[in-house]
């Protein structure tokens, strides 16, 4: 492999994403953690661009770096916003988990390592949004509509669960 610009970009983005993830694991202040994760999300958006998925990249920035991070921050603010106490779970569970994660990673890694898919040329980057739109509204119209139901459900559900009690219990 050559050190093309694309590669450097990938390396940087990947590094940022992983660092964001590692920070998530190691920081103690919850707000900091979420900020760290924003880096990851943005980096992932960059990766999408490398993968000729501009529309997804846009969606990624909007939804993850924007919406989800914000509601999570809201969530933190609404609850214990200054919570920094990050008690560690018991050692054996972490060890257990770590072993599991490593094992899993190892097994999957040998599957994807040097994976040669011999892809054909493609034209995803051309009019990416148009392609997505066409596919979405023709072939995938049923899941699309179903997703709207799902969003409605999530909306209603979030409201009824999160809204303050009218009966003034508190």
């Amino acid at each position: 492999m050559t050190f093309s610009g694309e590669f450097i970009a990938f390396m940087l983005l990947a590094l940022a994403a992983v660092i964001g993830g590692v920070l998530l694991l190691n920081l103690t202040n919850v707000v900091h953690m979420i900020i760290a994760l924003v880096f990851t999300f943005v980096s992932i958006a960059g990766i999408y661009i490398l993968l000729s998925a501009e529309f997804i990249a846009g969606a990624q920035i909007l939804i993850y770096s924007g919406a989800i991070t914000i509601i999570m921050l809201f969530g933190i603010m609404l609850t214990k916003h200054n919570d920094t106490s990050e008690g560690k779970p018991s050692l054996w569970r972490r060890l257990f988990l770590l072993l599991g994660v490593l094992g899993f990673a190892f097994a999957v890694y040998i599957g994807i390592y040097n994976l040669d898919l011999a892809p054909q040329t493609n034209h995803l980057h051309e009019n990416n949004t148009l392609q997505i739109g066409k596919a979405l509204y023709s072939k995938h119209i049923i899941p699309f509509e179903l997703t709207s139901v799902l969003l409605l459900v999530a909306l209603v559900g979030s409201i009824i669960l999160a809204k303050k009690d009218e009966k003034g219990g508190e």
């Binding site: 779970p89 257990f96 988990l97 599991g100 994660v101 094992g103 899993f104 190892f106 040998i110 599957g111």
Partner: protein, 622 residues
């Protein structure tokens, strides 16, 4: 008559059933039912016997149990031995029925008593009529039950309970031997029929080894039933039953069944020298062994019981020495005089309400009828010439001598001496001298009791003459007619044997008279010399204690050992499995600790494990 001989046992059976169903209403009248019905069967038996003198053996059978192609039959047979036994049984039974009317008077359970007697008589007659081993075994067990029930008649007495139990179990040990022997014989000959078995033996269809084995096993049954050593201990204890019962069952009939069995199967035994010798040895040993115990017992019935054991040993000795006729002959005479002795003893007990001879004495004058009758019995059993016992005992001694084992002969002679001694010891202690305890209202038994004794007394005197060296061996000739395998009709022993026998009995009587009659010799003279011996004898060689220590303890030990296994091994495994499952559940529910991350972790690690296993085994890496 012979064709309908099967009716004979039905009379007592009928008596049993009637009394079972209506006994409560009949109360004392039950006795009449029993007496009449046994009388009927006695009459019938006598008629059959007379017919048998002229007619040949009659046998009739029908299928009883079908097993596939196998048809086991049941029926009856009237041959010489049967016919004779039938009369003996019916006669003694009828007499005892009559006697009991007086003896049991006042007991509210008379109907039950007569019912049991009926059952026993039925079984005994059935046993005698059986044409095959299986049927024999069936009635063999049934007589055991009759005996058991009657021994335990006084159920509220602990001793009776124990004695009944003991009798049943001890005889059952013997029965199992009989059962095994019979079954093995069946698989060798494919039949339970006596005829078939004898035929197979004659034709050599069975190997010698099998003959010996089965014969010995069958003999085990006889040992149990006839109270031979080492299964004799139940018989003296059986005296807990009412005395008429002792007379009927434990003297005259049932205990003789063992002898009868050996006699009935004589061709089989005769085919094996080993078997015969074993029988002879056991018989001789039992004869002297029981007689020696009888020397020192103080319970009137127990003395008689040991005497019975001893006499049965005699009979076995006779059969074992190939003296078929001698054995059967003694069986008959013994039935009469021993029944007489027991009934007389019963009469004594009835009068004085004790069984301890130490407390008796001087009853000769008070019991004017019982005394002489008892004396007749005593003389007969002691082998005093001219009485029945003399002839039969002489036959036996002759057979033993001819059998070629002088030691056995010697034992028999000594036993005869002992017999004479202890019987007269008994007689003198009971009837002569002064009463050794306070005795009130001693009076002779009523006629209903004395009449049977008189009949038996007569028979005890004359029954010997059916087979004497002087007036002809009618019985022996008849018994062995048409059957070579039964041996000679009469063993012509050397003449001195009769003299020796007579002398020996007289010596015994004389010694007894010296000690107990005239009291010229102190009673301690003997017991003082052999103190230890006396104790051993008095305690019956500690056989009971020995069994208690060994067999009973062993059984109990085994039981407790198995219970240990049951509790700890069997249950333990079950508990272990249950505990394992429970433990699994406990662990599982501990892991379920309410932490959602644990749940996720378990799920994921589960996945990871599967994935890693897949990578290591099923994956393309391999």
């Amino acid at each position: 008559m012979m064709e309908t001989a099967w009716i004979i046992p039905l009379f007592p059976l009928l008596s049993f059933l009637i009394l079972l169903l209506f006994g409560r209403r009949l109360k004392e009248a039950s006795a009449f039912v029993g007496i009449l019905l046994t009388l009927a069967s006695l009459v019938y038996s006598i008629l059959v016997l007379f017919e048998r003198f002229t007619a040949p053996t009659y046998k009739s059978e029908a299928a009883w149990l079908n097993i596939g192609d196998l048809h086991l039959t049941a029926g009856f047979e009237v041959n010489q031995l049967n016919a004779l036994m039938l009369v003996i049984v019916s006669l003694v039974s009828c007499l005892v029925h009559t006697y009991s009317k007086g003896y049991m008077h006042g007991d509210e359970r008379i109907p039950v008593f007569y019912a049991y007697l009926g059952l026993f008589t039925f079984a005994m007659q059935g046993l005698v009529l059986s044409p095959n081993l299986l049927q024999t075994y069936i009635f063999w067990e049934l007589v055991g039950v009759g005996s058991f029930l009657l021994i335990g008649f006084y159920f509220y007495k602990e001793e009776a309970k124990a004695a009944a139990k003991k009798a049943f179990i001890m005889t059952r040990i013997g029965d199992v031997g009989l059962l095994i022997g019979m079954i093995l014989l069946f698989w060798q000959t494919n039949s339970f029929e006596y005829d078939e078995i004898f035929k197979a033996v004659r034709e050599g269809a069975i190997s010698q080894g099998w003959i010996t084995l089965t014969a010995l096993l069958i003999f085990v049954g006889a040992v149990g039933k006839s109270g031979q050593f080492p299964l004799h201990t139940w018989l003296p204890d059986a005296m807990e039953g009412p005395t008429p019962v002792s007379a009927l069952i434990h003297a005259a009939t049932m205990v003789a069944a063992g002898v009868y069995l050996v006699a009935a199967l004589f061709p089989l035994f005769a085919a094996s020298k080993t078997a015969l010798l074993t029988i002879a040895i056991i018989g001789a040993f039992t004869a002297i062994f029981a007689a020696s115990i009888g020397l020192v017992q103080t319970d009137i019935k127990r003395v008689l019981a040991y005497s019975t054991v001893s006499q049965l040993g005699y009979m076995m000795l006779a059969l074992g020495s190939a003296g078929y006729v001698a054995g059967v002959f003694h069986l008959m005479t013994h039935a009469f005089f021993k029944a007489l002795l027991f009934l007389a003893a019963g009469s004594v007990i009835h009068a004085v309400h004790t069984q301890n001879i130490e407390e008796m004495g001087g009853l000769w004058k008070k019991l004017r009828l019982t005394g002489p009758l008892f004396l007749i019995g005593t003389l007969a059993i002691s082998g005093v010439p001219l009485l029945s016992g003399f002839f039969s005992k002489d036959e036996i001694l002759a057979a033993a001598w001819e059998g070629g084992h002088p030691i056995l002969f010697l034992l028999a002679v000594i036993a005869a001496f002992f017999t004479a001694f202890y019987m007269f010891r008994l007689f003198f202690m009971v009837f002569t001298g002064e009463a050794r305890s306070e005795m009130k209202h001693v009076h002779e038994s009523p006629g209903v009791m004395t009449l049977p004794m008189i009949v038996l007394g007569v028979l005890a005197v004359i029954s010997g003459y059916v087979n004497t060296p002087w007036f002809g061996t009618f019985l022996g000739d008849w018994l062995t007619k048409g059957n070579d395998s039964l041996g000679h009709s009469h063993v012509e022993g050397p003449g001195w044997i009769m003299i020796v026998a007579t002398l020996v009995s007289l010596a015994g009587i004389f010694l007894a008279w010296l000690i107990y009659g005239k009291k010229s010799l102190s009673r301690d003279w003997l017991s003082g010399r052999g103190g230890a011996l006396h104790t051993i004898l008095y305690n019956k060689y500690y056989i009971d204690e020995f069994y208690q220590l060994t067999i009973v303890s062993l059984t109990k030990g085994m039981s407790y050992f198995l219970r240990f296994i049951d509790l700890f091994l069997v249950e333990g495994i079950v508990k272990g499995v249950a505990g394992f499952v429970q433990g699994l559940g406990k662990t599982g529910s501990k892991v379920q600790n309410g932490q959602v991350q644990t749940y996720g972790a378990m799920a994921f690690v589960g996945l990871a494990v599967l994935v890693v296993i897949f990578a290591l085994t099923g994956g393309y890496l391999k």
